[in-house]
């Protein structure tokens, strides 16, 4: 923002020169009209670019809300939020979203159970144990893991992990929550590890030394001082991971199946909110039908859930930053 600072004086000079009633003595340094206009124009254009992000958010909210409100004119919001049958594509339509929420949360839970411990332990390894060279070698590998398209993970879940699960548990269905959740866990793992590692690394060296000086072992220093001191950052990482898991689409669309149901059977098929959106999108659902609007109702719910979690983790991160600065 130096630009703003350096040129901040210029408008003041202009104001003095052009103030009404002042004698019109033209300075040899007076701003040139054309150039000033161009500068002004560019300023406006750049502002519009930045404002595009606000328009995007507004666009998301209005598209979602418009169709969602139309949806709730036909389906009472209570029925939507508390109903346990989701059959909008059948003749006997029911619009209880709980089965989709159930599927979403169960897959996310599996993913978290995989990603949080492994990610946290990796973060501890990278931040506390790994020599600089090992760390420099491992981090890019984790970044590759994070850069693999989700459709590839979907393939991996359906055609690599599921067959293994079916060998171990013969009753496993072809489409099942466990496989999708495990693979999703590994997809989220790099993010979990990287945010947690950042949180661990900002814990001041002085705290570690203080603990070592009391005769603590490295394990005790790490687990009883460093990790607790980084806890809010780790918490933020967990919340973000949950948010990612809830919003993830392709893995569940490919590997978790399309059966909206309430339950906890990890070896069976369940439909998530995101998988439902894909399912409807694949068909050619005409506009202005209730089926079309379910897309946006489910999308709104999804948006709200992830939004709340993102805000929460952001707030936590902001708070813990203050502690050490």
């Amino acid at each position: 923002m130096l630009g703003a600072r350096l040129t901040g004086r210029i408008p003041v000079a202009q104001d003095v020169n052009s103030s009404p009633g002042a004698p019109e003595v033209r300075s040899q340094f007076a701003p040139r009209r054309r150039r000033a206009l161009i500068e002004r124009g560019i300023h406006v254009v750049l502002f519009i670019c930045a404002a595009a992000s606000i328009l995007t958010t507004a666009g998301i909210i209005f598209t979602l809300l418009g169709e969602t409100l139309a949806f709730f004119r036909e389906v009472p919001i209570i029925d939507f939020l508390t109903g346990t049958r989701w059959t909008p594509l059948f003749v006997s339509q029911s619009f209880g979203v709980l089965p989709l929420v159930n599927g979403t949360l169960v897959v996310a839970l599996v993913a978290i159970v995989v990603a949080v411990p492994i990610g946290l332990m990796s973060a501890i390894f990278l931040s506390e144990y790994a020599p600089a060279r090992v760390r420099a070698a491992v981090k890019p590998v984790l970044e590759v893991l994070a850069g693999i398209p989700t459709v590839v993970y979907g393939y991996f879940a359906l055609l690599f992990v599921t067959p293994i699960l079916r060998d171990i548990f013969p009753q496993t269905q072809v489409f099942n929550v466990l496989s999708a959740g495990i693979v999703m866990g590994f997809m989220i793992l790099p993010m979990m590890a990287s945010i947690s590692e950042d949180a661990l690394r900002v814990v001041p060296r002085a705290l570690r030394e203080g603990a070592f000086a009391l005769g603590a072992t490295k394990f005790q220093v790490t687990v009883r001082v460093v990790v607790p001191a980084a806890l809010s950052g780790i918490l933020a990482a967990i919340i973000l991971s949950v948010s990612r898991a809830i919003g993830e689409t392709m893995i569940v669309s490919i590997a978790a199946g399309l059966q909206p149901k309430v339950g906890f059977d990890l070896l069976s098929s369940m439909e998530t909110m995101t998988a439902y959106i894909v399912q409807v999108s694949l068909g050619d659902t005409p506009q202005d039908t209730i089926e079309y609007r379910t897309l946006f109702a489910v999308g709104t719910l999804l948006f709200l859930m992830t939004f709340v979690m993102n805000i929460l983790s952001d707030w936590i991160v902001r708070r813990y930053r203050e502690v050490y600065e």
């Binding site: 502002f47 850069g147 459709v151 790490t222 689409t249």
Partner: protein, 293 residues
Amino acid sequence: MTQDAATRWRPRIRRRNAIGRGFALLTIVSTLLGIAVLIALLIDVFGDGGAQVDGHFLTNYPSRFPEDAGLRSALLGTLWMLVLTAIIAFPLGVGAAVYLEEYAPNNWLTRFIQLNIANLAGVPSVVYGLLGLGLFVRWFALGRSLIAGAMTMALLILPLIIVASREAIRAVPDSQREASYALGATRWQTVFRTVLPAAGGGILTGTILALARAIGETAPLITIGALTFIAFDPTGPMDLFTVLPIQIFNWVSLPQREFHDLAAGGIVILLIVLLLANSIALFVRFRLQRRFD
């Protein structure tokens, strides 16, 4: 206080050290686990799909018959999508970054924009798809065209480009700007001739990485209704289209084993494309990024 020390302290140092070693081992194993999954994934995909990749696979249209099916329309669609997305997202993203770094006053509106960008980065991609569907496909009546898809994708990767560009711009030292102003340049001249060239490497790297992300995205394009069976070459922004990940999704969704192998072949191509994009980004980072330290 020290005479009965022996009875009041039980350091159990052996045990503590053993626990410590066990824990250290556990952290190593966890880290290796992530790497092992990556390796397993690559072996699986290349094992299944490596044999699929040949000339016909790249030049044939998709087909009901697995032995004839190819990626031609998907590759062309991805290329179109890439170019259109870049054309929309790059100026918008860089413009926003320049505004926020060089122009924006420190007021509530600026803070709101920044907060907003941060939040957009966390919105699930499928929600962007719904935005594209409601806004571009239906409201703007662009249909399920390349341009509707590209606009959706552009909004999706905009936060990434803005964040990377801001970082690159911030890395340009103030002395560069001061030198330019001291020569009588206006603010825009300073930005355009001094700041942007200096930050160019970082901006380009960030943009390429963001585009790489767009290449792999599937959900938003499915949501706006990108078709999966396209047996013709797209010739303009208003054409229907398919892209690599959608073609892969389509094949993996079919029950026959042969199509699964085609999907693996498609993944091999997709990963190669991404590797290429990342290599270019890496190259740009090393060759173009100016260092000021």
